[in-house]
């Protein structure tokens, strides 16, 4: 969780991540952010995130992203 | 009552009310932007005649509109109406007649024959078509007449003929809203459909006028002949006599007259040509004074020929004596 938060805040220091459940829907993270973020996540957690995982449900909140990471780590 | 029903009634009442207000504004706007035209008025004024009082109906194009004066002929004891408009194609004449017969039961229909040779250009002639059609109420006859037009010209639409607002809406720019009063169509025509022309243009009879020069007879246009036949059949079904009447015209000829005479004989109806020498002499027209242009009588001319015509028709046909 902490690693994830660190990546997020470094990527977009101007965005409020805590408790935010509309990061994608409200347009706070755009497609460029997603691409950079995914790159970091893949490197840091040694997972493969394919384009099919880029849906709002997986990235709207920090919790959702964590769940995604954990699920992919198990596969 | 159940709440659902009350709700439904509430909505229904609202719709009716809204529609009523809508219809009023729609009529107001239509009358404001419509193109006013005395020919349209003359076509529409027909509805104001008391039902089944007209003995003779004159149907066709502008020579009738200008040249036939029913008020003049009334002295002979019969009522007539001129339901004609500029360059009216036989297809419109047919449907207009069919509609007219819903309101009147004349003994005689006098039909303008000259345009049986012409192929009608529905695309070019929208303005003239509207002279007749804008004066017709919405009816199955109007719809049929418009169908002929829309088939020939896809730019014109049924909707624009049934509701002239959709044709003339662009004229909003030419109207002084809030200042001018809207002018709805007139209820009645004081002149029984006649719209005379006061001006004069002196004419001269061309050389060899109405002499048999051995020319070939002109061909009848297929569509026009078709509708003429329909008109004749319609009249036959309703026990109405038909007279093809040609009014004085400088560009007329023996050949054209012969072609129509043949057609009339074929169809078993009467034909009277006012340019034939015999009749010309009886009419006593003065080409310097009585013509508006080579094809139309002016006011004095129309009275002259109507006086003659009134007497002729009374003796030739059993027209209702009042």
């Amino acid at each position: 969780m902490d690693e994830l938060m660190a990546i997020l805040t470094e990527l977009r220091p101007d965005v409020e991540f805590e408790g935010n459940t509309e990061l994608i829907d409200a347009g706070e993270l755009d497609s460029f952010d997603i691409v950079s973020l995914v790159g970091e996540l893949c490197d840091t957690f040694d997972i493969e995130i394919g384009a099919e995982e880029i849906v709002p449900e997986n990235f709207n909140s920090v919790e959702a992203m964590l769940a995604l990471v954990e699920r992919l780590q198990e596969d | 009552m159940k709440e659902k029903t009350i709700n439904f009634l509430k909505i229904a009442v609202r719709w009716v009310l809204f529609f009523a207000i809508f219809a009023m504004i729609f009529t107001y706007c239509s009358d404001m932007v419509r193109r006013q035209d005395d020919e349209v008025d003359a076509i529409y004024g027909f509805y104001g005649e008391e039902e089944n009082t007209i003995d003779a109906l004159f149907m066709g194009s502008s020579p009738y509109l200008r040249g036939i004066s029913p008020n003049t002929m009334e002295a002979n004891g019969f009522t007539s109406y001129v339901r004609a408009s500029a360059l009216q194609p036989p297809s419109v004449t047919y449907h207009l007649l069919a509609e007219s017969l819903e309101y009147q039961s004349p003994e005689l229909v006098v039909l303008f024959p000259d345009n049986i040779f012409t192929e009608y250009d529905y695309v070019e002639r929208e303005g003239d078509l509207r002279r007749a059609l804008d004066g017709m109420k919405i009816s199955s006859h109007k719809i049929k007449a418009v169908s002929v037009i829309t088939e020939a010209d896809e730019r014109q639409s049924m909707l624009s003929y049934l509701f002239p607002l959709f044709r003339y809406h662009d004229r909003w720019k030419e109207v002084e809203w809030g200042v001018t009063e809207p002018e709805p169509l007139p209820v009645i025509s004081e002149t029984d459909g006649n719209v005379p022309l006061p001006d004069t243009a002196p004419q001269e009879y061309p050389e060899n006028f109405m002499e048999d020069m051995g020319e070939a007879l002109p061909e009848l246009d297929a569509e026009s002949a078709y509708y003429f036949a329909k008109i004749i059949d319609l009249c036959a079904e309703n026990d109405i006599e038909v007279l093809l009447l040609h009014l004085p015209k400088m560009s007329w000829s023996y050949a054209q007259s012969e072609a129509i005479a043949n057609f009339a004989e074929e169809m078993g109806i009467d034909y009277l040509d006012m340019d034939v020498e015999e009749i010309r002499n009886q009419l006593n027209l003065d080409p310097q004074v009585d013509y508006y242009d080579q094809g139309h009588m002016n006011t004095t001319g129309s009275i002259k020929i109507s006086e003659w015509l009134g007497e002729y028709l009374t003796s030739a046909y059993q027209l209702h004596e009042k």
């Binding site: 497609s31 997603i34 790159g39 384009a51 | 193109r35 500029a86 909707l159």
Partner: protein, 532 residues
């Protein structure tokens, strides 16, 4: 059957009656029939291509479904015995198998689209090269008539196919239902492009008639008709004049033409979308938004998130992410970081795909060199925007420019509008040559005096028409600003008193009737008496 024709209104009323009177179980069938009836009358019966696409997509999704099911069962049996590396290998192998099916269907369908849309263009250019080299040969070219909606339903079908491929969507097993999803009549004219997960359920379920929802739908359609008939078709007169006579209308006229074209295009496109969305809403179906006040955008990327939204979203989810997240792209990104440093390197996986996307969007518009130029223009703007974002904001900070205030916001909007307008010149001009000369003349012969006096009355619109256009645009602007601040016009209207609502309805209807640009032009001379 255009959206603003009487025929469409009659068709819609008939569909409404049939749909809501059909027993609930079969309502989707009624809709299916309605779609094909519409396609017959509006699309001239070019069913063949729609049917080919439907069948191929159905077939491919059924095959994939079977493959996926088999794979799941096989994997479940062995997964406990595999380690991480072996699992990855299994997954990769299966993906390769799936890809073959995907590729076949994608190539087939995009192939149809490409051939119909672009073969004429490609062919004639090849022939130009051949004749330039004085070779005696030439390839045959045909100018195909594009079937109705092909650009839209092809994308929608491929999106669905990819969702199935990604195992994110369980495919529909009923062929008729798939056909229904790919032929929904409101979408056939101008889109929007929908996703299966968003639209299918709405099409298949029995929607009940809702008076309030129908009211909203009709209101939206009237609004769309207003944008199209009163604004767009009027603006068009100006645009056609300026772009039709570029030698006469130079300098500031070009700017006027570009801006008015922006208005025309928005009015026409979003108006048509509103009519489509309103019609669907009456039937109980919500289509995705395609426009969100695009000219209030503050940057080019923001503009493309507000203009033709569903197309941009489609490219983002099915082209951009796959490209930028691909192994190739991440590898390139790492290399780029080493060569260009951290800043550009991070952006690299994004830059090339973005350029490709916007290039493709440009080309999607049509098969002409000017659309390729438009694609380059867009792509370059996007890339520059991405690259320069940080340096420019740092510069602004250094200069002490405030960026949270209204004046800056306004500047951003105007700047974006200018860039968009230039792009529109490229697409509207007859060819690249004309757009270049028009842009040149705009700079060289700039003369704002034409805006005063009679300069703006030379296009064929008289003073009164210009006033109508201006007021209509102001109304549109007011509505847009209200919507931008979150007000929903239709719900707010519904809350007002009935008298006020009726006044608005009557004004709207009669505005369309009287000020709409439709029917034959009224030319008094046509009506002048012509005796014979």
């Amino acid at each position: 059957m255009s959206f603003t024709s009487v025929e469409f209104i009659i068709f819609l009323i008939l569909v409404m009656m049939v749909y809501f009177l059909t027993p609930k179980r079969y309502r989707w069938v009624a809709l299916f029939v309605a779609n094909y009836v519409f396609y017959y009358f509006a699309g001239g019966g070019y069913f063949l291509y729609l049917i080919l696409t439907t069948l191929s997509i159905y077939g491919a999704t059924m095959v994939l479904d079977q493959m996926i099911g088999q794979n799941k069962r096989a994997f479940a049996q062995v997964k406990d015995e595999l380690d991480r590396e072996q699992k990855k290998l299994w997954k990769a192998n299966f993906t390769k198998k799936k890809k073959k099916v995907l590729l076949a269907a994608v190539l087939f369908n995009f192939g149809i689209l490409a051939v119909l849309k672009y073969s004429g263009f490609v062919g004639s250019n090849i022939n130009a090269v051949f004749s330039g080299l004085s070779l005696g040969i030439s390839v045959p070219t045909y100018d195909f008539l594009l079937p109705l909606g092909i650009s839209f339903y092809t994308f929608q079908s491929i999106g669905y196919l990819i969702d199935v491929y990604r195992e994110k969507q369980v495919p529909e097993r009923n062929l008729a239902k798939v056909a229904l999803f790919l032929s929904f009549f409101p979408q056939m004219v101008q889109g929007p492009i929908s996703r299966f997960s968003q639209l299918a359920e709405q099409l298949y379920r029995p929607n009940a008639f809702s008076y309030d929802r129908a009211k909203f739908g009709v209101q939206l359609m009237v609004w769309g008709a207003f944008k199209k008939l009163v604004i767009a078709d009027r603006a068009r007169v100006i645009v056609d004049a300026i772009f039709g006579f570029p030698e006469t209308f130079t300098g500031t006229y070009v700017a006027v033409g570009a801006l008015v074209y922006c208005v025309q295009l928005y009015g026409d496109f979003s108006g048509g979308i509103d009519i489509a969305t309103g019609a669907a809403q009456i039937l109980g179906i919500d289509l995705e938004k395609n426009f969100e006040r695009p000219y209030l955008a503050t940057s080019i990327p923001d503009f493309w998130r507000r203009w033709h939204i569903t197309l941009g979203a489609w490219f983002r989810d099915y082209v951009f992410y796959p490209l930028s997240l691909s192994k190739f792209s991440t590898k390139m990104g790492k290399k780029a970081r080493k060569v260009f440093g951290n800043y550009v390197g991070k952006l690299f996986p994004v830059l090339i795909p973005q350029f490709i996307i916007f290039f493709l969007i440009g080309v999607w518009h049509g098969a002409e060199w000017k659309y390729i130029a438009f694609g380059f223009y867009n792509g370059t703007l996007i890339v520059l925007g991405i690259l320069l974002e940080q340096p420019l904001s740092q510069l602004a900070d250094k200069l002490g420019i405030k960026r949270q205030c209204f004046s800056w916001h306004l500047w951003q909007i105007l700047r974006t509008l200018a860039l968009v307008a230039v792009g529109k010149i490229i697409t509207r001009a007859a060819g690249i040559g004309q757009s270049v000369s028009m842009l040149k003349s705009m700079v060289e012969s700039w003369d704002t005096s034409i805006l005063f006096g009679d300069g703006l009355l030379q296009f064929g619109l008289d003073v009164q028409d210009m006033w109508v256009l201006t007021i209509a645009i102001l109304v549109l602007l007011a509505v847009s600003i209200m919507q931008e601040t979150g007000i929903s016009i239709r719900t707010t209207l519904a809350k007002q008193n009935i008298l006020f609502r009726w006044v608005i309805y009557l004004i709207a209807i009669f505005t369309l009737f009287i000020f709409g640009v439709y029917g034959l032009e009224y030319d008094a001379s046509d009506f002048i008496y012509r005796g014979f």
